[in-house]
Amino acid sequence: MADLLQFSGVACADWARPHSFTLHAGETRLLQLASEAEKEAAIDVALGNRACDEGMVLLQGLPLRDGKPGSIGWVAAYGGLISNLKVWENVTLPLWYHAGHAVAETEQRVAYWLSVLGMAEDERESYMEATPDRLGSSQRKLAGLLRGLVQMPLVLVVDVALFEGIAPRLIPVWTGALEAYAAQGWAVLVVADRDTALPWQIIE
């Protein structure tokens, strides 16, 4: 299995301890941290948005800053949507900003992930045309998750709060979608700040 993301003795000033792990293609793993601040910092470090004080982060064996922008995707806790864009524009934003795909290909990709995520076909059009202010909390979270999946980054960093406050029946569907994503040769890193019942192996 190819190494995708590697944390090597990574620590920031306010962290309890440094973290070292390697995330391989096909894996979905859970990084459990001590506090919300630590979780936010770890997400920023993994996304290359913040420099760590110690250690280094490698993407496919190279320093993260040398990687192609958009190689690491992000699934926000509460969707992280842009309020003046429709769901469709939000979902395609990182994909089209970083890679630029044909509309038909993107539509296919969105339709595929929507079916994996269990959305009925007759609901899709109105959902995609909605603006974030018209969506409920779960629908916003779903749009954020869909955006990450459609972007197809090498590594998808997921905030564990995504799974909080959603209907219990959605949890296995969404975790299944993330596993299906990883199974396509990518990796998923779920970052948590508390104990969770999610099924993935915790990074020690």
Partner: protein, 256 residues
């Protein structure tokens, strides 16, 4: 005395910082120009052109017609039956000065507060952070299309405003002085100089860049409190206005 001096120093320091940060933002946006090849950035640009340009045409037309009328009536009262002087005054006032300035004021009224409050709301709601986490540069995705869009808008709107105001002025002059409109148009093109057209273009471009950069700067510079959003909008409007007038003075001194 010492306190007053320190206060003046502090205020001056803030002004210098404001100009420096505004210029830095405009430069950052300029460096992001290649990002215009990306579809979401182009969408953003088109939205700006539509909102700032197309939707402003109505107000620009109304102000242009009214302004052309006011000018002709005032000048006619002052100089009487003098066609050439009336045309010259129209060129001095509308092309050299008020065309770009009034177009900038329409843009400030319509777009400056809208841009500042939109960006400020995005900042308060963490959307700027979301963009950064998606490795999307706010300068490339938000600022550059706004600066580019507002600059095009300013240029096009100033030109449109001038055409409407001068057209109205010439039509009314032709009617009041009983001269042929075709003759007046010919005299107009003989009278207007390259420097006058160039100054109008230069002013429109500079005003567009200034208004958009100032508005974006105030929108993005706020702290994360909802009460800051209206403050950012009103600051953007007032500072844009001030900066536009200052720039107008500088260009006028340099060119005329």
């Amino acid at each position: 005395m010492k306190n007053s001096l320190q206060r003046v120093q502090r205020r001056l320091g803030k002004r210098v910082l404001f100009v420096r940060e505004g210029l830095a933002l405009a430069w950052q946006a300029f460096r992001s120009l290649p990002a215009i090849a990306r579809l979401p950035v182009r969408h953003n640009l088109f939205k700006q052109l539509y909102f700032g340009g197309i939707q402003s045409l109505g107000s620009a037309s109304a102000i242009g017609v009214l302004f052309g009328l006011i000018l002709v009536i005032q000048v006619y009262n002052l100089v009487g039956n003098n066609e050439l002087l009336m045309l010259n005054v129209m060129i001095w006032v509308i092309v050299r000065e008020l065309g770009p300035l009034l177009a900038a004021i329409v843009i400030i009224g319509r777009s400056s507060s809208a841009i500042a409050s939109e960006l400020a709301a995005m900042k308060v709601h963490g959307e700027i952070d979301s963009l950064q986490r998606m490795a999307i540069s706010p300068a490339a995705y938000l600022v550059m299309p706004r600066i580019l869009g507002m600059t095009f808008t300013s240029l096009a709107l100033a030109f449109y405003f001038q055409v409407v105001a001068i057209g109205t002025g010439m039509a009314v002059t032709a009617w009041m002085l009983d001269v042929a409109l075709r003759h007046e148009i010919a005299v107009f093109f003989e009278t207007i100089s390259f420097v006058e057209i160039a100054s109008a273009l230069l002013k429109s471009i500079c005003f567009g860049v200034i208004v958009s950069a100032v508005s974006c700067h105030y929108g993005l510079a706020i702290k994360r409190a909802p009460t800051e959003i209206p403050k950012a909008a009103s600051r953007a409007v007032m500072r844009s206005m001030l900066a536009v007038f200052a720039c107008d003075v500088v260009i006028t001194i340099l060119l005329f």
